[in-house]
């Protein structure tokens, strides 16, 4: 009897698992296994929703696995169904309609959801999150040229939609409770550059600002603050953090971490404490490549790599995962900002360069000869002409020895290319593959023989 794989969650992690199972079966000439996908929503990419809001792509562009593709890949798709309870002893999942699915192994990839800060009035009309496609549609339907928009939260997720809001002709104010913007993506110096850039582009920024309540006022929203004048807005978007979707696992015997943000601790094969149950993506507490500690990354590349490793292991291979590199990139009004690895680390040796008049910033963090983190910020024109963003990733990821180059990089943090090339970083990276084999084109096999 073929193995029965159950994939709970149709996001990046779940779909990469499915694709990898089918790739492995095809490459190794195996019979197709049974794959059941349980997805609360029709599969789409959250990563591209900002472009849907912007209007540069249509709704159809966001879908990642249309029904025809799932049929071609021989996936039994239970779309619109949510997982309710997992019985790991009987290997049975109960759905929200009380149907049950039996499995041999199971992936938990239920992702996370937006969490509104506990502000009185946050549940009222005109106060939105921007996380799911449905939430995106609400914002698209509401926002109009001249709309006054207040964004509560100035983290990475908030920043991914700033361009779209501005492109729609809205007037934007960003409100952040922390003393600076992008508190979990860049350091103080970089945040200062980005804030000035935003203000120069007619975006109002209020940091260290605590919203005390949101009231409905004649079809608009009135935000009051602990300090400072109230603001009236047509539309409020809250990007105040995420929560993992794991409540349904209570009583299953699958361990979840008690400290925030929760998550399922996994081993280097992405297995939970229950051997037949894997976890991937935002719900998995996996290894950080640089520090070796287990943590939830909640970024797209981690979900994608997790999913592929799970798929290979579900197909019967023995693939250990080295760990995930924290990394983010975001652009607002043609200013690009990216960070890699441990970009804030009191124990690291720091080389920084600030060119305030050009809005450029670099930060390199070393442990001995090894680059362990980096921050880069600059106008898009400069960043993409230099084009060494990826090299910073390569240096952090490979851990190549830069001892000979440290003096040069301390004096010239903007001159990374010769150090990258002459340190044989390419030779170090070329044998590296996540699955121990060349990757395949992402189009799933169009036919799966059963």
């Amino acid at each position: 009897m073929p193995a029965r794989h159950l994939i709970v969650g149709g996001g990046t992690a779940g779909l990469n698992t499915i694709r990898t199972i089918r790739e492995e079966e095809r490459m190794r000439g195996l019979d197709a296994s049974e794959i059941t996908l349980v997805a609360a929503e029709r599969p789409y990419s959250r990563m591209v929703l900002p472009y849907y809001l912007w209007g540069t792509i249509s709704e159809s562009h966001v879908y990642t696995a249309p029904p025809a593709a799932l049929t071609a890949w021989k996936v039994k798709a239970l779309v619109g169904r949510k997982a309710k309870a997992l019985d790991t002893a009987a290997r049975t999942l109960t759905l929200d309609d009380d149907a049950t699915v039996e499995y041999d192994d199971c992936l938990i990839a239920t992702g996370s959801r937006a969490a509104k800060a506990p502000i009185p009035g946050a549940d009222g009309p005109g106060v939105h999150c921007f996380w799911t496609l449905d939430e995106a549609k609400e914002v698209v339907a509401t926002i109009a040229p001249g709309s006054r928009v207040v964004m509560i939260g100035a983290g990475f997720i908030a920043f991914t939609i700033l361009n779209a809001i501005l492109a729609r002709g809205a007037r934007l104010t960003i409100v952040e409770v922390a003393p600076r913007i992008l508190p979990r993506m860049v350091d103080d110096a970089c945040a200062g550059i980005v804030q000035r850039w935003l203000e120069d582009h007619d975006v109002a920024v209020r940091v260290g600002a605590t919203v005390t309540k949101i009231e409905q006022a004649g079809g608009r929203r009135k935000l009051s603050f602990k300090k400072g004048e109230p603001i009236t807005a047509d539309l409020v978007i809250m990007a105040t953090g995420i929560r993992t979707n794991l409540e349904w696992l209570q009583g299953s015997g699958v361990q979840t971490a008690s400290e925030a943000p929760g998550g399922i601790p996994v081993d280097d094969h992405l297995r939970s404490n229950v051997h037949s149950v894997y976890a991937a993506g935002d719900v998995a507490r996996g290894r950080n490549l640089i520090t070796g500690t287990d943590e939830v990354h909640a970024i797209e590349p981690t979900a994608q790599e997790h999913g592929r490793v799970v798929g290979a292991n579900m197909s019967g291979r023995d693939v250990a995962y080295r760990g995930s590199l924290l990394m983010n990139i975001v652009e607002v009004a043609h200013l690009d900002v990216a960070s890699f690895g441990q970009w804030e680390d009191p124990k690291a040796e720091l080389y920084t360069a600030l060119r305030a008049e050009r809005s450029e910033y670099r930060k390199l963090l070393f442990h001995g000869g090894r680059l362990t983190g980096a921050v880069i910020c600059g106008p898009a024109q400069a960043v993409w002409t230099t084009n060494d963003v990826g090299m910073l990733k390569g240096l952090v990821y490979s851990g190549v020895d830069l001892s000979r180059w440290k003096a040069h990089l301390r004096a010239n943090p903007f001159d990374v290319k010769p150090a990258f090339i002459a340190s044989h970083t390419t030779a170090r990276l070329l044998p590296e593959t996540v699955l121990g084999r060349p990757s395949q084109s992402p189009s799933l096999p169009q036919t799966v023989a059963l």
Binding site: T12, Q304, E305, I329, V434
Partner: protein, 134 residues
């Protein structure tokens, strides 16, 4: 080639100067086995073309730049005019850089991917590094 423009700042093959601009070496995508750009793309916009090169499907790319931070070689590019990513696609099997090079410093042949300028760069930077203040 890839952007349809005569614009060195948009070239997908970059020439790095060494030894105070007295020697040069071209650097471009190795078409690595992992294909970090390809596996990172959230919408499957990077695929393997007939030449075996990873190639951006323009109509599918949304311009999210995830590939530019996923590629550890610095050989993914972003075009601010089109708001899309682009890269060396080996010109579909007839690389223009190889046919344009007047000294045959660039040739196109079937071979394993390799770090073709690491040794050269290490040698050509060694002396300069010893002259820098420490």
């Amino acid at each position: 080639m890839q952007t349809g423009q005569f614009q060195p700042s948009k070239s997908v093959i970059r020439v790095s100067p060494f030894e105070g601009y007295t020697s040069y070496a071209p650097y471009t995508c190795t078409q690595c086995a992992e294909g970090w750009c390809m596996t990172a793309c959230p919408v499957g916009a990077i695929q393997i073309n007939v030449a075996g090169a990873k190639d951006v499907i323009d109509d599918t790319c949304v311009g999210c730049k995830l590939c530019t931070i996923a590629c550890p070689y610095g050989t993914m590019f972003y075009d601010g005019d089109t708001q899309k990513a682009y890269k060396c696609n080996l010109c579909g099997g007839a690389p223009a850089c190889a046919s344009a090079c007047p000294t045959q410093a660039i040739t196109f042949e079937e071979a394993e991917t390799a770090d073709w300028i690491g040794d050269f760069a290490a040698e050509r930077t060694a002396r300069v590094l010893t002259l820098e203040p420490r």
